[in-house]
Symmetry: C2
Subunit: 161 residues, 2 copies
Amino acid sequence: MLASSLKVNKMDISPDWVVGFIDGEGCFLIGISRNPATATGYQVLPEFVVARHRRDVQVLYALKRFFRCGVVRPDHSDRYAYRVRDLQGLRKVCDFFLKHPLKTKKRIDFKRFHRILTMIEQGKHMSLDGLLEIIKIGLSIGNQPHLKQVLLEIQQRLRAG
Amino acid sequence: MLASSLKVNKMDISPDWVVGFIDGEGCFLIGISRNPATATGYQVLPEFVVARHRRDVQVLYALKRFFRCGVVRPDHSDRYAYRVRDLQGLRKVCDFFLKHPLKTKKRIDFKRFHRILTMIEQGKHMSLDGLLEIIKIGLSIGNQPHLKQVLLEIQQRLRAG
C-alpha cells in the first residue's frame, strides 16, 4: 500500500523535459568565501540551484532523483530549492548538460560554469593566479557582485607579490 | 546561402522540452475588458504568454514555429514575449498540453484555463451567468486582481435583474 502510494507520487521526467525546465528555472552560480584553511585563503563554491514555490517541491525531488545527487531544502519565504554543491554531483550535472545542451542563452552561463568546475577538478583554484582566472570567468556569469570584491583583493595581493 | 544561414538559426525543440520550458516560464492568463459591442458589455481575453530577455528571442520564435500560431513582439523593458490570443491558436496550445501534461502545479492553472477556453468556444461567455462562472474560474488562476472588480459589477447587475 505504502509502496503503491509512493509510486503514485513519483514523477517521471525525461532528459528533454529537464533541459526545458532548467532553461527556464536553473541557475549556475559561483560563490566564494574566506577560508583560512585553504592555500589561497578563499574557497570557491560552485553551485547548481533550482528554486520553486513549495507547491512544486515534488518537481525538485524528481530532479534530485534524476541527477542522483544534491539536496532539497526549504529556501527563503515559501520556496524550496534543489541544490548541488559537491564536485562529484556537479560533474554529473555538467556531464548531463554537455550531452543534452540547453537551448536558451543560459548555455553560455553553463559553459563558463563547466570551465570553472574543470579548473577546480584540476586543482587550479589552489593558486592565486588560478583563483583569479576562476573569479573572472565567474563574474561573466550573470550578476554575481560578491566576486568583484574578492577579485580586487586578489589583484592587490598579486601586485604586492 | 541565405536558406542555409536561416537553417542554422532554426532551433529544434521537442515536445518534452516545450513542456519543461513552459512548466518554468509559461503563463495562462485570463484578461477582461469593457466592450459595449458584446452582449454582456465585457470581452474575455484568454492568453498564453512566454516572456524572456531579448537575448532569448530565438527560443520564442521556436515556440511560435512549434505551436504554429501566436506572435513574438517586444514586451516592456529589454524583454520579448510570445503571445497566443486567438481562439484557434489557443485550442492548438491546449490540445498540446492535454496530450503532453505539465509536471508542475501549473497544470492546475492550465486545466482551469482550458475549461474557460472550452466555455468560450461553447458561447457561454455571451450570457452574464456564463461570464460570471468564467471570471470565478479565472480568479482561481494565480493572482489576477483585475477580474475581481468585474466580478463585483456582474454580481450587482445579476442582483438588480
